[in-house]
């Protein structure tokens, strides 16, 4: 309820690890190991989360209302997590923030071969 009134910009910017976790939940609910695997595969192993960091992030995302535990898909030992509407807005906000930065980098010709906007 509360998330509807909150401004997603208040949560930005996100740390890369946190954004990776949110991104992995964009296409549906997952449990911890699935998140770890997806983040590792998507980043070609450059972002290798361990369980301590992952659940530290999950604890914070739960407390901030960006994700929620999903009854569906949870087993006796594992919870599945999914994005809340607010979490999705925050992830979108971060993506837009990064895109805007990228645009600027292109205009400044920092990224070679891509030309101006």
């Amino acid at each position: 309820m509360e998330s509807r009134q909150r401004d997603p910009a208040g949560c930005l910017p996100l740390t890369p690890a946190l954004f990776h976790v949110l991104l992995s939940l964009v296409d549906g609910q997952k449990h911890g190991y699935a998140i770890l695997k997806e983040v590792a595969e998507r980043s070609d192993g450059s972002v290798a989360l361990s369980t301590g960091t992952l659940y530290g992030i999950i604890k914070r995302l739960l407390a901030d209302g960006l994700i929620t535990q999903s009854a569906l898909g949870s087993t006796d030992r594992r919870n599945a997590y999914r994005l809340t509407a607010f979490g999705r807005k925050v992830a979108l906000g971060e993506a837009e923030r990064l895109e805007s930065l990228l645009r600027t980098a292109r205009v400044k010709k920092l990224i070679p071969g891509t030309g101006g906007a």
Partner: protein, 876 residues
């Protein structure tokens, strides 16, 4: 992962690094995810993959777990602050209590740390030793070193790699401006090896300069050609000018004026300036020790242990050397030993006991403060008992509740400790300024990192201890049924413990009150000591005559006294040693015609008028007068009663003769013993002789008894003496009342500090009693209501409260008296003129505590008496 598999057990053990709450929320999931990670790595068949998973996990846990703990701590502190904001009275009382207790301890620790614990600000200062000679048994008294023995030690020792011999002399700086008297150190070669330093300007002594003898063959002091200045003196007298190096200054010591070359200025904080017991040196002269002086043991010898040598091995070596020198010079050294002591010990030995006593007293206040905090928290926790039991029932762990209790207590203690530290920072300069002279190293006292660390540790320990006590006073929350939680048992939670704590507070406060009482008695005993003279309206003026008066001592003395005695407002004046100052060497005295061995008695030359100005009490005969001239025969002497008791026990002395320095003198008078050295030392046997009949040139001190304010005559005295000799420096102008005030200052200071500590302890203990009494009144409202309905009077109700307090105060006083008596051996060394088990002091302390306890329970008793039985029964 099978539950019993080894990797799972290892992983679960690693999970222990995280807070219990985090483990509870995510531990199973983390274990399952780790198993999947590990299985995936194992399925590749490469063990390095599995090892990498482990490594990454361990590194990750090491990084994350502390952050999770911090997160929990942050939330607990936030929770504690929210709770405490709802209970401002509790919070303020607790913080105030801790602030007072910790602040006091931090202040005293600042002093103890700087004076006793911190090493001296000298390179490798733990290698420094002071070397004493020990007089033959049975006296075995520590004495200074003789210069000839020092030279022999230096030649023979292998365990000390540097040694130096240090003497002190007053020296008058002449030249431009008023003559100024300063304390100079005369040091031997090696001084700056024992006490290394770099000069601020110029250079230190060279080996050549150090080789010239301190005295010439004729016995006259040789010209010391070089002088080093202290930084203070350089700034004060020479304006800090660098061109002063290489110039000469004219000074006057015992002999003729000397011209010295200023070769350097030492660092402002040079620790070697504070080695002499009678003050801070402002200049340094160098000379070779006098190899002809083996008997005069008054110089200060210092050494530096060689690498690999210990105090023990050095002492063993010096025992051997002392034996050799005893055999070589049996007349001078027979029976004498040598004692080595760590330098720091010798500097602080006179104050060590007092400072540890104050630290102990401050610690007692801390204990009472902690007891109060614990009592407040027990009362506070017991009101939250149902709340806690509910949370426990809803799944919170006991560890979590304990953690919150302790966090709350630590938050209070740390806040209180912070305020206490501020108080210490503010009060330490005042404490140092108020301290009596004679406490070494006071200028090194400040609230440094050590004091901050001490405060933090003390606050944390107090917080954790009180938090644990308060939480465990709740008992077993798990087994309580709701009816017991909300019923009578809620009230008894910690009640007994609170009483026990209050009893302990009373006991500790009583011990402190007894100690403070003994300090008061000690001060009164010191103040009531018979002085043997009348200090009122007497002023002492130090004199430093120049070389032109050598061999004209009598003329100088007569000139000064004629002029001063004629001044308006002067009743009498004389020259001699002022009371309560060191001086007077023992001289061997015999009674002519008696075969008995010589005895050592202090000989004190004084002019006519001196004993009158001092206000000494004449017991028999007369004081000196104008007939006691240099050539009078027989020569005369006045003895004090101690000397009469020694020479003619029970007999009369006036008219008899004594013999010393190869001449006979007749006793013309006897005076009551005058306390002329240490205030608390019994007066030594003393022979007063007319100054005109002695050879010593020691015109050092003028004593003037006045009609009105003694300081009012000083301008006239100054002018009169200027008329005689404009270069004659007047120093150390002080009334005898002021001297006495200074001499009593250490005892007064101890009395005041012990008094303050005791009052603080009493105030905190009262707060504790008040808390327990008020709490018990609230608990017993229904009971009191019933009693009042059944006809109990107000007096009866007040009696209930008073009885309750009596059950705290009674055992507290009993334990306190026992404790104080047990500590009487420790305190015996700190008191004077009163027995450490003085019944009157104990009684006063007990009565004060009872009065304080009565005052503390007055308000709760009034509240109990004002209970309306109808309201009480309805609410109960």
């Amino acid at each position: 992962m099978r539950p019993s598999s080894r990797p799972e057990r290892w992983f679960r053990a690693l999970l222990g690094l995280f807070p219990a709450e985090f483990r509870g929320d995510f531990g199973d999931e983390m274990a399952a995810d780790f198993r999947d990670q590990r299985d995936a790595a194992a399925s590749t068949g490469r063990r390095t993959r599995v090892a990498r998973v482990w490594l990454r996990t361990v590194a990750d846990f090491a990084r994350r777990a502390p952050l999770e703990h911090l997160d929990v701590l942050g939330r607990d502190v936030g929770f504690a602050i929210r709770v405490l904001r709802r209970r401002p009275a509790l919070a303020v009382t607790a913080i105030f209590t801790v602030a007072v207790a910790v602040g006091l301890n931090a202040s005293v620790f600042s002093v103890v740390n700087a004076v006793l614990l911190r090493s001296l600000p000298i390179e490798d200062s733990d290698q420094l030793v002071r070397i004493f000679e020990v007089s033959p048994a049975p006296d075995s008294e520590l004495q200074g070193a003789s210069s000839a023995n020092f030279v022999d030690w230096a030649a023979r020792t292998r365990t000390l790699d540097a040694m130096t011999l240090v003497g002190g002399d007053d020296l008058t700086l002449l030249g431009s401006g008023d003559p100024e008297r300063i304390l100079a150190m005369e040091v031997s070669d090696g001084f700056f090896k024992v006490f290394p330093t770099q000069p601020r300007a110029g250079r230190l002594f060279t080996a050549d300069e150090a080789q010239q003898p301190a005295r010439t063959a004729s016995g006259r002091r040789a010209q010391a050609r070089s002088i080093l200045l202290s930084h203070d003196l350089w700034l004060r007298r020479f304006g800090g000018r660098s061109d002063v190096i290489g110039t000469t200054v004219r000074v006057q010591r015992f002999g003729p004026d000397e011209t010295l070359e200023v070769i350097g200025v030492l660092e402002p904080d040079f620790a070697g300036r504070d080695l002499l017991p009678w003050g801070r040196a402002e200049a340094w002269l160098v000379g070779a020790p006098d190899v002809g002086q083996r008997r005069a043991r008054y110089l200060n010898a210092f050494g530096r242990l060689a690498p690999g040598a210990s105090l023990h091995s050095a002492q063993a070596e010096f025992d051997v050397i002392a034996g050799q020198l005893g055999a070589a010079y049996p007349k001078e050294n027979g029976g004498y030993g040598v004692r080595l002591a760590p330098l720091l010990d010798t500097i602080v030995k006179d104050v060590r006991r007092q400072l540890w006593f104050l630290f102990g007293a401050a610690f007692c206040v801390l204990l009472i403060g902690c007891a109060n905090l614990a009592n407040l928290l027990i009362a506070h926790e017991s009101t939250y008992r149902p709340d806690l039991a509910t949370r426990l029932a809803l799944g919170a762990s006991r560890a979590r509740l304990l953690r919150q209790s302790v966090t709350q207590s630590v938050t209070l203690a740390v806040l209180g400790g912070g305020v206490g530290l501020l108080m210490a920072i503010l009060t330490v300069p005042t404490l140092v300024a108020a301290a009596p002279p004679g406490i070494p190293r006071l200028d090194e006292v400040h609230t440094d990192v050590g004091v901050v660390a001490f405060t933090i540790v003390v606050s944390l320990l107090a917080g954790v201890g009180c938090g644990l006590t308060a939480h465990f006073s709740l008992g077993r929350l798990e087994r309580q049924t709701s009816s017991r939680l909300y019923g009578a048992d809620r009230r008894s939670g910690g009640r007994r413990l609170r009483r026990i704590i209050a009893v302990a507070e009373i006991a500790i406060a009583l011990v402190l009150a007894v100690a403070a009482g003994l300090m008061v008695q000690t001060f009164r005993a010191v103040a009531a000591l018979p002085l043997g003279y009348d200090p009122a309206q007497v002023i002492a003026v130090g004199l430093a005559p120049g070389e032109s008066w050598n061999r004209r001592k009598n003329e100088l003395e007569a000139g000064i006294l004629d002029r001063v005695a004629a001044l308006p407002g002067v009743r009498s004046a004389g020259i001699g040693t002022r009371p309560l100052s060191p001086g007077g060497f023992g001289t061997s005295i015999e009674v002519p015609g008696r075969g008995a061995p010589e005895v050592s008695i202090s000989v004190d030359p004084v002019t006519p008028g001196f004993l009158e100005a001092l206000g000494a009490h004449l017991a028999k005969g007369r004081f000196f007068d104008q007939t006691d001239t240099a050539n009078a025969a027989p020569r005369s002497a006045v003895l004090n009663e101690a000397a009469v008791r020694l020479l003619w026990p029970g007999g009369d002395a006036v008219g008899r003769f004594i013999r010393f320095d190869e001449r006979e003198v007749q006793i013309v008078g006897v005076l009551a013993d005058v306390r002329r050295g240490e205030l608390e030392t019994a007066p030594a046997p003393t022979v007063y002789v007319p100054s005109s009949q002695t050879q010593t040139f020691r015109v050092n001190n003028l004593l003037i008894r006045t009609v009105g304010d003694p300081k009012a005559v000083i301008p006239a005295v100054r002018a009169a003496i200027r008329g005689l000799d404009p270069t004659l420096a007047l120093t150390r102008i002080e009334t005898l009342d002021e001297t006495l005030h200074q001499a009593r200052a250490p005892r007064r200071f101890m009395m005041q500090l012990a008094g303050i500590f005791s009052i603080l302890a009493l105030a905190l203990a009262m707060l504790g009693i008040y808390g327990v009494a008020a709490g018990s009144v609230i608990e017993r409202v229904p009971e009191i209501g019933i009693r009042m309905t059944c006809g109990a009077t107000t007096g009866h109700v007040v009696g209930i409260v008073a009885r309750q307090v009596a059950w705290i105060v009674g055992p507290g006083i009993l334990i306190g008296v026992t404790g104080a008596a047990a500590l009487s051996g420790t305190i015996a060394g700190l008191v004077f003129g009163v027995k450490p088990t003085d019944p009157a002091t104990y009684l006063t302390a007990c009565v004060s505590l009872m009065a304080a306890a009565l005052a503390a329970c007055a308000f709760p008793a009034r509240r109990a008496a004002a209970i309306d039985p109808v309201v009480a029964l309805r609410e109960g």
